[in-house]
Structure formats: C-alpha cells, structure tokens
Amino acid sequence: MKKIVPAFALIAMVLLTLSATTAIESDSNLTENFVTGNPGIASINHISFGPEGILFLGDSKSAAIYALNTKDVKTAAPATEININGFDKKVASALGTTVENIKITDMAVNPISRNVYFSVQAADGTPVLLKLKGEGFENISLKDVSYSKIELTDPIPADAKDKWERPLRTWAISDLKFHDGQVLVSGLSNKEFGSTFRKIPFPFKDGQEYASLEIWHAAHGEYETHAPIKTFDVIKLDGVDHLMASYTCTPLVLFPLDELKEGKHTKGRTVAELGAGNSPLDMISYEREGSTYFLMSNSNRPVMRIKYDDIADFKESLTDPVPVFAETEGVPYDNLPFPYVLQMDNLDATHVIYLQRQSDGDLRLRVRTTEWM
C-alpha cells in the first residue's frame, strides 16, 4: 500500500503537469464550421489572434476576412530575449529573395503559445505567413489549412430590385481586432471614399454590421464623415465598450461600440488631438501596477503612452481648432523614446514585442518589459 500511494501521486503529478503544459482542450464550437483545404488567400494586410489559437487574416484583395485554425494552442512561456537585427533581411533570405522584394504587413502574438507571427507579401503577389522560431522562421501553410471565411459585403441599395452584379470592390483593411465574440474591421473602399467600420460576429455566419463613422475634428466646426481610421482599440468606459479610433493628423476618437450600426451615422467624441503631420500605425494596451495604458506607434512621432484614467476622466469633446501647427490638445500623453516603431504587440502581460526602424535604416525586432514603457 505504501508503494501504491506514491505511484498514484506520481501519476497525478504527471497528469497535472501534462494538463498545464500541453494543448488547451476546448469544448467550444468556434471551429465547428471550419473546412480544411485551400482558402485562396490573395493577400494578407492585417493579422490578429482570437481565442483558441484562431488567427484572423484581413485580405484586401479578396475583400474577405479569414479565420485560420493554427492549432498552436500549447501554452508556453514567451521568448523575452528577442533582439534580432536586420529582421527584414532575414525574412527576405528565408523566402529566398532580397529585402526589396518583400513587405512585412503585420505582426501578431498568439496569446496562448506566445509564438510571434508575421504576414509578408512577396513582390510576385504570394502572401506568406511566418512563425518566428528562434532567429529563424517556420512557414505556416496557407494552402492546406483549417479555416472559415467571410466576404466583406457592400452596402446594398435599399431597393432590392436594383441589386445588380458589380465588380469586386477593394477594401483597404486598415486594422482588424477580435473583441468579445466579434471581429472588428476598419477599412476604406477604392471607389467611394468613406471610412467603414464593421462588426462581424464569430463564428462567421451571413451577418455583418457596417457603420459609417463621423468624427468631430478639432480643427473645424463640421463633422468629418470620411476620414479613414488608421488603427483602433477597444476601451471600456463606465462599463460600456468603446471603439477608440485613431486617424491621420491625429485625432483620437471614441464611439460607443453598440451604437455602431448599419445605416446609422454615428458621431464620435474627439478626446485628443495628437498632432498634425502624423499618421498612427498601431495601438495596443497593457496593465502595470493596477493601471491600464495604451501605446500608439506613429509614422512621424515616437510611441505615445496614454493612461486609461486620463481618457476616462476626459468628459469633453474637442471642438475648437488647434491653432498652432503640430500642437496637441485633450487627453495628455507621454512620448516614449521609441521612434519609427512599425509594428507592436503584447508578448505577454509584462512584455511588448516591436519592430523598429533604426537610425541607420536597420529593422530590428525587440522585446521590452512594460516596466520600461
């Protein structure tokens, strides 16, 4: 009997260890309608992880969003010592070409496995999805994969009799994120100018809601209906989810998410003017010592850090012009000493991974603890 107890204990320990380190089993039905095969992905403009290792891909060429089951669901500690110089050159070499023949379009971290994924477009049009492995890469097949797909439909004329065949419209997908059972997509059409924001329930069915967004731009006394969202995040204010959208030149605007509905022009509340002559690139959030912060990378300014409490406390809406070039108004922010950050994501709760162009032109992939951000 004495021998049996330790044996059981050992087995129990092994089982516990296995359950803690191996794949997360899920009884959800998120992948129930997935099929396996070649989804026909034509381009990858943006990528973002959802639950259970599902990666969402925005394909502007096909005007579609794909959900890929990466099956990358083994929990692991992140590699926090990443510091890779000449990153674009490495990607190009791995794809058998030179750096002028590739474009790294996005980066996303799998929140379960902590693996870092990159979407790359080759000059010949081949879309590629790579997973970082040490200082090398693993190619994730886009031709034989478990997936589901939804096309970004056009607003259809109200008169059903007048629906007719139209050439496929291109949507330049400017950002994409999964939030609370929905894929949120901002985009811009190649035909009629106008920013559209979509909420697509996941698992994909037929429905999707799109909304035209108006912002109150601080530089003039009119509503701006057509500015394209460059990047966005979701922020909960007074218990209500808000879309926090950033635009070129660089207003930060809040829209209650549940008010973004089809056919409804929704007016946003501008809470910050973060400076003209700039375009936002990426936005993430993290928590430190009980406070939430947002980070926003920019084309012509360093990474900005904005405190959640400052946004929550700002109850006004900016309506007056900012008279001096590049001056800022509204919610305060800090400039972090990281210029030219092109891509960012949370590696884990305490680390951020980012792609940064150095002053000598080198593209570097680095990890930094949020303690120093």
């Binding site: 070499s93 080759a122 050439p167 496929l168 100018f193 601080a218 012009p321």
Partner: protein, 367 residues
C-alpha cells in the same frame, strides 16, 4: 589432422577476406564523395517555382541559401527519392539571384542562378483616369490602369511624381496609405488626392491648402522603374500633363443628361451625355438599362469623350421601345460629388441636401 590444418588455413583465409572487405569498404567510402548536381530550374506559369537536383547525400544535411553569405536558409520543401530531388521554396525564386546548396549550413555543395527572362516588351500603363486635360481644383481621385499585374511591395507613390509647372515645384497631392487600393488583379490602382486637404477647414486643408490649385499647370510622371509582378519594368516613363480649372461644387443632375440613339452598322446604340466627365469606373458599374418588363438589358458599356459620354451597345435588339436608365446614387463626378450630396459638405445639416435616393431613373424611348 589435415582436415584440422585445412580448417585452420581456411580460417586464416576467411580472416584475411574480412580484412580485405573492410579495407576495400574504407577505400570505397573514401572514393564516394558527397555531391549535389543541379538538374534544372522548374517553372510553373513561367515562374521559377523550384529546382531539381540529384545527390548522394542525406538530404537532411542540405539547405538552400541566397548566395554564399546569407546565414538564413530558404524555407521550402524537398521531395523525391533515388537520389533525385526537388526543392520548392515558399515563394518562387528571384530572377537574377544565385542560390547555394550547403551541407550543414556551411559547406557549399552546388550553386545555381535563376536566369533573367528576356524583356518581352515590358509592363504597360494603359490609361490614367480622368483622361480629360482640365480637372477641377477639387479633383478627388485618379485611377492608373495597367496591362499587367503590378508588383506588390514598394509603395506606388515612390514611382509617381507631380510637378506644379507654373511655379516649378514638386508637390505631393496623394494620400499615402499603408494598404494601397488595387483591384484584385492588381491592374488598377486608385489614388485619392488627400481628402483632408480637399474638405474645407479640415486641419490638412488649413495647413497645406488644396492639393491642386486652379489656374496652374501640372505634369505627372510615372517612373519606368516601376515593375510588374513578374519583375518587368514599365516600357517607358509615362507623363500626363493637365491644367487645373475651377472648383466643381455642383452635384451631377441626371435630369440634365442628354440621351440619344445612334445607329452604327444598323445597330441602335444608346449614348448618355453627362455634360461633364464622370468617375470612369463608377460610370460603368452604376448605370444599367431596363426594359418595360423590368428586365435588365444586357450589353456593353464604354466611355467616350474624355469619360463624359457613356455608350451602351445591347447584346440583342431592343425588345421594347420604352426603356429606363437606372443610376445608383453613388455615381460620382471628378470631385467626388454623388447624386445625393456634394463631397465637401456636412452630412448632418445641409439645407440643400436632396432626400437621399438609392437609385435615380431616366425613362427613354428607343426610336
């Protein structure tokens, strides 16, 4: 005894034999040098999608690299057996580049260069829309139409320059987007003239003014180094000269359009004169013709007179004398004014704004 002796002798010979076999094996092994021989570059749809090679090596030890310096091996799949193998990279090989097969990532075993294809005429820019020589001051967008799919990587604006000839200065009128607006075939590029600068009183408008100024002459140049997907540069440097006229602050009015029939080769053709140039792509996709039975009449559309006249040739003879032209309200003129609203307007409270309609209709009689 003899037998024993014979047996001993046999045992000695057997021993020598094994020594000989061992020695020869060593010798043969020494002679059997590892090698990789390039057989051919494999093409699919004229793209170099792989390389066929033969080797006596364990292929697990072999990797393909770009040139001799790169430390990152090319990702790909090796298939094959009996010494003949095929390596397919994730992305087709790049023309003009030299690749090496390396043993254990270091020792170069073989190399191959992907030949550059002969320039078969080059890529071609078919048209720049609008085609008209005089554009409104608040021109909203331009389309660039190519004969071949164009490359995916560099920003299109790196190849397009615009000079204000009147003042002798280079300008940057277009909105730069991370995700460019190409059609799926990557043959048509849409470029927006920065809408923030066109809309009155927006920050970009106040800071920089309109992208184009009335009364000035401009030359747009498209650099010949812009390549197609196949890596072929444009045939030549293309230029378009245009003059900027006054602002267009009026919505297209379908009631003022002139419709008429014209007979060509005994076929009755419908001509719709807009009275002004319209968006070249929207004009062809937002206008349709219906007969009295509410059936859409199939046919071909093309634009004439600098995109100010739409020509419709029905596939079959007109079945009814009465027809109806239906126009989706999203049709725009060159300034982005559609059938329901001006581009530069406040959606919230425009007293002159028409009640929005999805479709506008023009009845017409075929004679």
């Amino acid at each position: 005894m003899d037998v024993v002796c014979a047996h001993n002798t046999f045992k000695k010979i057997k021993k020598i034999k094994w020594y000989l076999i061992f020695f020869c094996s060593i010798l043969l092994a020494g002679c059997h040098e590892e090698s990789v021989t390039i057989e051919q570059v494999d093409y699919e749809s004229e793209r170099p999608v792989g390389i066929t090679f033969s080797t006596n090596m364990d292929i697990e030890k072999l990797r393909v690299f770009v040139g001799e310096e790169s430390q990152t091996s090319v990702i790909g799949v090796i298939v094959g057996d009996k010494g003949k193998h095929h390596f397919a990279p994730v992305v087709p090989f790049t023309e003009g580049l030299t690749y090496t097969f390396r043993k254990n990532n270091t020792e170069v075993m073989a190399s191959f260069t992907i030949p550059k294809r002969e320039n078969t005429g080059g890529a071609e820019l078919i048209a720049i829309h609008p085609k008209v020589d005089t554009v409104p001051e608040n021109l909203l967008k331009m389309y660039f139409e190519f004969a071949q799919p164009m490359q995916e990587v560099q920003n299109a604006l790196d190849f397009i320059s615009v000079v204000n000839e009147t003042d002798g200065i280079e300008i940057k009128p277009f909105l730069r987007l991370e995700s460019e607006l190409w059609n799926k075939e990557r043959t048509v590029l849409t470029l927006w003239l920065d809408p923030g600068r066109i809309k009155t009183d927006l920050i970009p408008n106040k800071e920089k003014g309109l992208p184009l100024t009335a009364g000035k002459r401009y030359t747009m140049a498209i650099d010949s180094s812009w390549k197609s997907i196949q890596g072929t540069p444009l045939l030549k440097k293309y230029t378009k000269k245009f003059y900027v006229g006054p602002r267009d602050d009026t919505m297209p009015k379908t009631k003022e359009w002139q419709l008429c029939m014209q007979i060509e080769d005994s076929v009755k053709i419908l001509l719709m004169d807009f009275g002004e140039p319209m968006d070249a792509f929207l004009a062809k996709e937002t206008i349709r013709v219906y007969n009295t039975g509410d059936r859409q009449i199939q046919g071909k559309f093309n634009l004439l007179e600098n995109e100010s006249v739409l020509r419709f040739v029905p596939d079959e003879e007109w079945s009814t004398p009465k027809i109806e032209v239906r126009i989706e309200s999203r049709l725009e003129d060159l300034a982005g004014n559609n059938l329901n609203r001006l581009f530069d307007t406040e959606v919230k409270k425009d007293p002159n704004q028409r009640t929005p309609k999805a479709v506008f209709r023009i009845p017409f009689e075929v004679r």
